[in-house]
Symmetry: C2
Subunit: 291 residues, 2 copies
């Protein structure tokens, strides 16, 4: 089992759990520039590799990874391996097609495309790949039992339809918001934009601002009505350092100073400019407090 | 592992799956009168029994089972066994308390108490009993990963609060509806009310009407606006005979002729009388069609 260098906990933790079942699990690497190290991957793919997981868009800093190249390597070197792609941050922002990616399975979730929390989808090229983890009334073709979360499932369907239909206009709008944000963030002393890899998602801007933990800035920004995150929501509950930021080569103290700004199709340019204003104020105040 | 005689598929199927993991799994028995055969249970409980599952209210015909007596036997004979109670049909209709029952875990669901589909609860006497089946972002104390279905969870909480507060008045109302239904159903030729065990839930009336499969009557009733079920919703998707009805000693052809009528606190006496009217009409028409 090979696990991408910067996977979300929803992939990292199951990969870790597979070790307990006797699987050899390896974490892949990034190049110095923060892209996938395909040469390293090629060397790790074995004829008996059963599973490779590589996300499409990184959730903490937005790198868009060359999953198609990963698929080609996997097919060539590990013919019996399945390729799983976490496309949760990609859907609705960039083109996503399980066929074009060459993946076997692909995950997406409603609450990242303006749908309700609680419903997601695992798209498979071949349903026979899946085995149930729980057993019961035969719902979802016997793959996951339990009375279905009908409202959220319908919401996911509607949200996915809208996300697909508006993808190009959303992309353009996000790009304009992100560019405005990046220009403004350049004025903040010591702020460093993280843009690892060959391209980044227009929905995410990760900024490293040394001098205070990201959580502190996050709370100060929240008081000003600006909601950002420090690492992913799933990691921020614990005090651990983001493994994805660590994989970029950041030291623990740097990784703790990374804020993630996200843009959606409902973010306005005014929102961007007030977020920038709040960020400048928070940085100035924290700087003054330190003196 | 001991599995109650008439458990829902949500318990029966996992018990079956445990066989594949090497557990010895036995299904318990009912007495001739349709109550739990506690003598048989006592004989099957071993010092190395790890799990006993016994539902509180049967979902297809409403028997209320003496779970407290089961708990006493389990504690006395299998001190290391956990007792799981499916209380899904009981909550809001009769008193349910994990402590009073002497159970280790108890399941309930929102959509049986007028809450939204998609949220349920597994109540435990000791959370240490549980181990996760899936791994990820650490939600739900690490027991079940994934962004929570917030709306449905809030709905479950609200529904449970209302179900608890109105339980006694609901019980009285259901009892009156069921009694009216039972009186009326007595007028239908050949209809036989199933009331196995020492007492039945006021929310359920199971009626065996020979001469046509329950599904046929179900569809005819549906056309007249009366929604009933043939077996449990989870079983009715397949063509199998209800194992719970079989456990009552019914022959397969009898089991296929059992209709379940359910009453809720929003069922009116007028609903009951129009359901009875529709049932009489459907039975008469089917009888005429057979001649």
């Amino acid at each position: 089992v090979l696990c991408g260098a910067t996977e979300h906990a929803s992939v990292r933790a199951p990969a870790e759990a597979l070790k307990g079942e006797g699987f050899e699990v390896e974490t892949l690497r990034l190049t110095g520039g923060g892209d996938l190290d395909l040469e390293h991957l090629a060397g790790r793919l074995r004829p008996d590799t059963v599973l490779v997981a590589q996300m499409l868009v990184q959730n903490e800093f937005g790198s868009i990874y060359p999953v198609r190249d990963v698929a080609r390597l996997v097919r060539a070197r590990s013919p019996s391996a399945a390729l799983h792609v976490d496309a949760i941050q990609a859907v609705g922002k960039i083109e996503v097609s399980i066929g074009a990616l060459g993946a076997d399975s692909l995950s997406l979730t409603a609450h990242k495309i303006h749908g309700p929390k609680g419903a997601g989808a695992l798209v498979t090229a071949d349903a026979a790949l899946l085995r149930p983890l729980a057993f019961g009334g035969g719902q979802e073709h016997g793959l996951r039992p339990g009375t279905e979360n009908v409202a959220a499932i319908a919401g996911l369907g509607a949200a996915a339809e809208i996300a697909d239909r508006t993808r190009e206009s959303t992309h353009a709008a996000l790009l304009a918001r992100r560019e405005a944000f990046v220009r403004g963030a350049g004025r903040i002393p010591c702020a460093r934009l993280l843009e690892p890899g060959r391209s980044v998602s227009p929905a995410i801007a990760a900024v490293l601002i040394p001098g205070a933990p990201a959580e502190v800035r996050m709370h100060h920004l929240e008081e000003r009505g600006v909601i950002v995150s420090a690492g992913s929501a799933c990691q921020s509950r614990r005090n651990e350092v983001s493994p994805a930021l660590t994989a970029l080569g950041l030291a623990a103290e740097e990784a703790r100073c990374v804020l993630r700004f996200s843009f959606s199709r409902s973010t306005t340019l005014e929102d961007v400019s007030s977020a920038l204003g709040a960020l400048e104020t928070v940085c100035r105040e924290l700087e003054e407090a330190r003196r």
